[in-house]
C-alpha cells in the first residue's frame, strides 16, 4: 500500500479562483418540514374542493419562492369555502367557524403616525400535528378609522408541492395590499423573489 506522499508542487499555480459567496441560512428560501407536510396534507384533502380557496399569508408567499418564514398555514376563501373546508378537515378542527374581528399586530405605515389594522372574517381554526391552520372566509380589512374594504377576492395561481398542485393567492394582489398598507419591506421581498424568477410585478 503506497504511503501518502504529497508530490512536490513543480508547477506554479495560475488557476483562476472565484470569490465564493456561500449563502447564510437566512438568505435561503427553505420551508420547514413539519409545515411542508401539513401543506401537503391540506393540499391533498382539499383537492376536490368546489369553493375557491388558496394558501395565503406567509405560506402562500414562500410557496412562490419569497423569503419569509411562516410558522402556521393560512387559507383565504369565502364563507361557503370555509364551510366546505371545515367538513373536509373536520378531524383537525379545533375551533368552530365563526365571525371574528381583531386587530393584527402590525400597523399601517402610510401616515406619519401608525394606523391600527383590523381584520374580520368568517374564521375556522385547525391543528394538523401541531401545525396551526387558519381559514378566513370573506376577509375584510380596515385601516384606522376608514371604512371596511370589500372582501378580498382573487384568481388563484398554482404551484406544485411534491407533485400536488395547490392554489396560492397571487403575489400581485399581495404586492398591492402591502403597498396600500405601506409595508414596503414586504413589497421588496416579493420583488426580490420575482427578480430571481425573471418576472416583473409593478
Amino acid at each position: 500500500m503506497p504511503v501518502l506522499i504529497v508530490p512536490d508542487k513543480s508547477k506554479s499555480l495560475n488557476i483562476p479562483v472565484f470569490q465564493s459567496r456561500i449563502p447564510k441560512p437566512e438568505e435561503l428560501v427553505v420551508l420547514d418540514k413539519p409545515l411542508l407536510e401539513a401543506t401537503l396534507e391540506v393540499g391533498n384533502l382539499l383537492k376536490d374542493c368546489q369553493a375557491k380557496w388558496a394558501f395565503a399569508g406567509d405560506i402562500g408567499e414562500i410557496l412562490n419562492g419569497v423569503n419569509v418564514r411562516p410558522d402556521h398555514l393560512t387559507i383565504l376563501t369565502n364563507v361557503a369555502g370555509c364551510e366546505e373546508i371545515s367538513k373536509k378537515l373536520e378531524a383537525f378542527q379545533v375551533e368552530a367557524s365563526k365571525q371574528v374581528e381583531n386587530q393584527i399586530n402590525r400597523s399601517a405605515e402610510i401616515e406619519p403616525k401608525p394606523l391600527p389594522i383590523m381584520i374580520k372574517s368568517y374564521t375556522s381554526r385547525f391543528d394538523l400535528n401541531g401545525q396551526r391552520l387558519n381559514v378566513h372566509g370573506d376577509l375584510r380589512i380596515r385601516v384606522g378609522d376608514w371604512d371596511w374594504g370589500d372582501p378580498l377576492d382573487y384568481e388563484p395561481e398554482y404551484v406544485y408541492v411534491i407533485g400536488v398542485k395547490v392554489p396560492v393567492v397571487p403575489l400581485e394582489l399581495k404586492t398591492r395590499l402591502y403597498r396600500g398598507l405601506g409595508w414596503y419591506d414586504r413589497v421588496a421581498k416579493i420583488h426580490a423573489a420575482m427578480a430571481r424568477r425573471h418576472h416583473k410585478i409593478v
Binding site: 495560475n14 456561500i22 412562490n64 407533485g163 425573471h198
Partner: protein
C-alpha cells in the same frame, strides 16, 4: 516541511458537491449528522453570477467560463493500449470535451436537462440476454465482453427513483409503460408519476405523437409515446426538503450545442435543490476552492480516515471523518481512488483479452458515436430556432424500441438492447451560431469551399428562421462494457499540483454500431408515416471504423457496484458491501433522441439519463451511510455487513 492544517472531524465528508453529494449531504445533515462538502470550485449564486452575463455564447458556451479550468487538470485519451494518450488541451467548439463542472452543482450547471429512467432490463442485461438468446450470445457480439447485472433490480431501485425525482422536480408523464405495473418488465413503470407536469409540446412533437400512436411497434403493440422527461422545472415547485424552485422561463440559453447555466435555478442542480436545505439545517459546512488530492487510509488500509485538499494558497488541509462519500465526477472519482491506493486497480491483460481488479474497469458511453449509421427526412413545419424554449422540453419519446422490447433472435448483424427515440424538442433550446463541424468544415461535396465564400454564407442567411425542419437520428444501441475500455493514471501528464491526470482507454463497441443498422429502419418507417420527404438512410458505419475522439461528456462506468467481488467494488472497501458510494454503473441502456433542427442539427440526447439512473444510487448511499453511522454509534463496529 509543509504543515498540514487540521480540520475538525465530522460524521460525513462529501467529496465534490454535485448531484450525488447534494443528496447525501442533505439526507445526512437533515438526519442530524455533521457533514462537510468539499469542492474545487466556488458557490454559484444564479442571481448574482448568471442573470446578466450568461447570455454569452463565446464566453459561456465556448470559453466555458463557469467550468473547470483546464490548466488545473485535464485528461488524456487513447483508443487502444498501444497508443499514446493525448491530453485534452482546450475546450473546443462547441462540444465541450471533458468539460468538468466546477463548484457547487458541478457539471449539472451545464447540461440540457434531459432525464429518463432506465428500464428493468438494463439492470439485468447480462442474465436476461443469456436466458433469451443463450449464454454465449453476449460474448459473441461483444469482444472481450465484461457485462454484468446490477446488484439490485429495477423494482428495488424504484422507490429511490421516486425520491430522486421529488427532490429535483422532474417533469414528465410516465414512461410509456402500457400497464404501468411491476409486472411490466420491459418498461420503466412508476409507482407514482413525475412530480411536475411536462413542458408545452411543439407542433413537431404533436405530429410525432399522433403518428406513432397509430403505428405498430416491433413488439406487436401500438407505440406508447410520452413527453420527454425533463429536469427543468415546468412550474413553481417545492420539494420534500422545503426548497422552492422557480419555473423555467424558456429563454433558450439552455442546451443546444454548448449547454448553459440557468439563471432562474429552474435547471435541476444540487445548488438549487438539495444543498440549500443542507445549509439551512446548520449541520452542513461547505468548503469551496478546495482541491481534493488524496484520501488518507488507516494503517491497516481498510478504512479511509481523512481527505486531504489544497486551499487556494496551496496549503494542505486534513479533513477527518467517519464516512466518506465520493461524489466527484467520473474520472476524478476513479482517479482519486487510484492516487490514494484505495481498492484494487484494474489491470488489463491484452494478450488474454481479460483484466483483473476493479477500480477503473468497465468504461462505457451513453451517447451516439460521432459517426454512425443515420437516417433523416424533412417535415414542413417551421419554427424559431433562435433562443426560445429550453434544452429538454417540447418533445415526445417512445420506449418501445428500447431494451428487449422486440426479439433480437434473427437480426443481423446481431446486437442487444435498443434506443430511446423522440422528436419535437424546442428548436431554440440553445444558440448554435457556430455549428460543430457543419459550420466550420473543410471543403467537402456538400460545400466545395467548406465554410467559406458566398455560396456557404448564403446557407447561413435566416438559418434561425426555418420554414421546414430536418428530422433524423444517428441511433445507437447500448455501448457494452468490455475489458479493453478502462480508466487509469496517465504516465506523462499531471495536474497543476503534480499528480497524474486520468487516462481513458476507450472506443465504442460493436453493439453500438450494429444496433443502428436495425434501428434506422424503424425510424425510417416513422418518418415516412409522419409525411417527411427525402427520407434517406445513410451509408452503414461498421464497428471500429470511426475511432472515438469525443469522449468527455457522456462516459459512464469505471467503478461499478456488483455482487461479484472480482468484477465490482463490493470489496473496494469491504465496509460497504451491498451499498455503494458510486457515481455511475457500467451497464448502460442505449438511448437515442431525434429532434427537429435545420440541416444537420440533430440535437437531443438522453445521455444525462445516466445521471437519472445514478440518482437512486445516491439515495441508496445515503441510506447505507445512515446505517453505517448507526452501527458505529451503537456497537462501535466500523464495518457494515450487507
Amino acid at each position: 516541511m509543509s504543515t498540514v492544517i487540521q480540520e475538525n472531524p465530522v460524521d460525513v465528508v462529501c467529496l465534490g458537491v454535485g448531484f450525488m453529494s447534494g443528496v447525501v449531504a442533505t439526507e445526512l445533515a437533515l438526519a442530524g449528522n455533521s457533514v462537510v462538502g468539499i469542492t474545487k470550485g466556488p458557490y454559484w449564486d444564479y442571481v448574482n453570477d448568471y442573470s446578466t452575463t450568461k447570455y454569452d455564447e463565446w464566453g459561456v458556451g465556448l470559453g466555458r467560463k463557469y467550468d473547470s479550468p483546464l490548466p488545473l487538470q485535464s485528461t488524456t485519451i487513447r483508443n487502444n493500449i498501444n497508443q499514446f494518450a493525448l491530453p485534452v488541451r482546450r475546450y473546443t467548439m462547441p462540444i465541450q470535451y471533458h468539460a468538468l463542472g466546477h463548484g457547487v452543482g458541478g457539471a449539472a450547471q451545464h447540461y440540457g436537462g434531459g432525464m429518463g429512467r432506465f428500464g428493468p432490463w438494463a439492470y439485468e442485461m447480462a442474465s436476461r440476454t443469456a436466458s433469451a438468446y443463450g449464454s454465449g450470445f453476449l460474448a459473441s457480439i461483444n469482444p472481450q465482453d465484461d457485462t454484468h447485472d446490477w446488484p439490485l433490480t429495477y423494482a428495488e431501485y424504484e422507490p429511490y427513483y421516486v425520491e430522486w425525482e421529488k427532490a429535483h422536480g422532474i417533469c414528465g408523464n410516465y414512461n410509456g409503460s402500457p400497464t404501468n405495473s411491476p409486472s411490466d418488465i420491459n418498461y420503466p413503470w412508476m409507482s407514482r408519476n413525475y412530480p411536475l407536469p411536462p413542458h408545452p409540446m411543439t407542433p413537431l412533437g404533436q405530429l410525432f405523437q399522433s403518428t406513432v400512436q397509430g403505428m405498430t411497434a416491433p413488439n406487436g403493440q401500438k407505440y406508447n409515446p410520452f413527453p420527454t422527461v425533463s429536469a427543468l422545472s415546468s412550474q413553481p415547485y417545492t420539494n420534500q426538503y422545503g426548497v422552492t424552485v422557480n419555473p423555467c422561463v424558456y429563454e433558450g440559453y439552455c442546451a443546444g450545442l454548448c449547454d448553459y447555466a440557468c439563471e432562474t435555478g429552474a435547471k435541476a442542480n444540487a445548488a438549487y435543490r438539495t444543498i440549500p436545505a443542507a445549509i439551512n439545517s446548520g449541520n452542513f459546512t461547505l468548503v469551496t476552492n478546495a482541491y481534493i488530492f488524496r484520501l488518507e487510509l488507516s494503517p491497516s488500509g481498510n478504512q479511509v480516515v481523512a481527505a486531504h485538499y489544497y486551499d487556494a494558497q496551496g496549503n494542505d488541509h486534513r479533513q477527518p471523518g467517519k464516512v466518506f462519500f465520493n461524489g466527484m465526477w467520473g474520472y476524478n472519482m476513479i482517479r482519486l481512488m487510484l492516487l490514494s491506493g484505495l481498492g484494487t486497480p484494474y489491470v488489463y491483460n491484452s494478450g488474454a483479452g481479460t483484466g483483473s481488479g476493479v477500480v477503473g474497469r468497465g468504461l462505457t458511453n451513453g451517447y451516439t458515436p460521432y459517426r454512425g449509421t443515420s437516417v433523416s427526412g424533412t417535415v414542413n413545419i417551421g419554427g424559431n430556432s433562435y433562443p426560445a424554449g429550453n434544452g429538454s422540453g417540447g418533445g415526445v419519446s417512445v420506449f418501445d424500441l428500447m431494451d428487449d422490447n422486440f426479439s433480437h433472435s434473427s437480426i443481423s448483424p446481431p446486437f442487444i438492447g435498443g434506443g430511446l427515440f423522440g422528436a419535437g424538442g424546442y428548436l431554440g433550446g440553445g444558440p448554435g451560431n457556430i455549428t460543430f463541424a457543419g459550420g466550420v468544415s473543410a471543403p467537402n461535396t456538400l460545400n466545395p469551399n467548406g465554410a467559406m465564400g458566398s455560396a456557404f454564407k448564403a446557407t447561413q442567411q435566416n438559418k434561425y428562421l426555418p420554414t421546414k425542419q430536418s428530422v433524423g437520428a444517428t441511433p445507437f444501441a447500448p455501448d457494452l462494457p468490455t475489458f479493453m475500455n478502462y480508466i487509469d493514471l496517465d504516465p506523462h501528464y499531471t495536474d497543476a499540483y503534480g499528480d497524474p491526470v486520468s487516462r481513458l482507454t476507450y472506443d465504442w463497441t460493436p453493439n453500438t454500431y450494429n444496433g443502428a443498422t436495425y434501428l434506422v429502419n424503424q425510424i425510417k418507417a416513422i418518418l415516412t408515416q409522419m409525411g417527411a420527404t427525402n427520407v434517406t438512410v445513410g451509408a452503414t458505419v461498421a464497428p471500429y471504423s470511426a475511432h472515438n475522439d469525443w469522449w468527455g461528456h457522456h462516459l459512464r462506468g469505471g467503478l461499478r457496484i456488483g455482487t461479484d467481488p472480482n468484477a465490482g467494488t463490493a470489496t473496494a472497501w469491504a465496509a460497504l458491501s451491498g451499498y455503494n458510494q458510486l457515481y455511475y454503473n457500467s451497464n448502460t441502456a442505449g438511448v437515442n433522441y431525434f429532434a427537429a433542427g435545420e440541416i444537420t442539427n440533430t440535437t437531443g440526447n438522453n445521455a444525462t439519463a445516466g445521471t437519472h439512473a445514478a440518482g437512486p444510487q445516491s439515495y441508496r448511499a445515503a441510506e447505507g451511510i445512515k446505517k453505517y453511522l448507526a452501527n458505529v454509534a451503537t456497537s462501535g463496529v466500523n464495518y457494515l455487513a450487507s
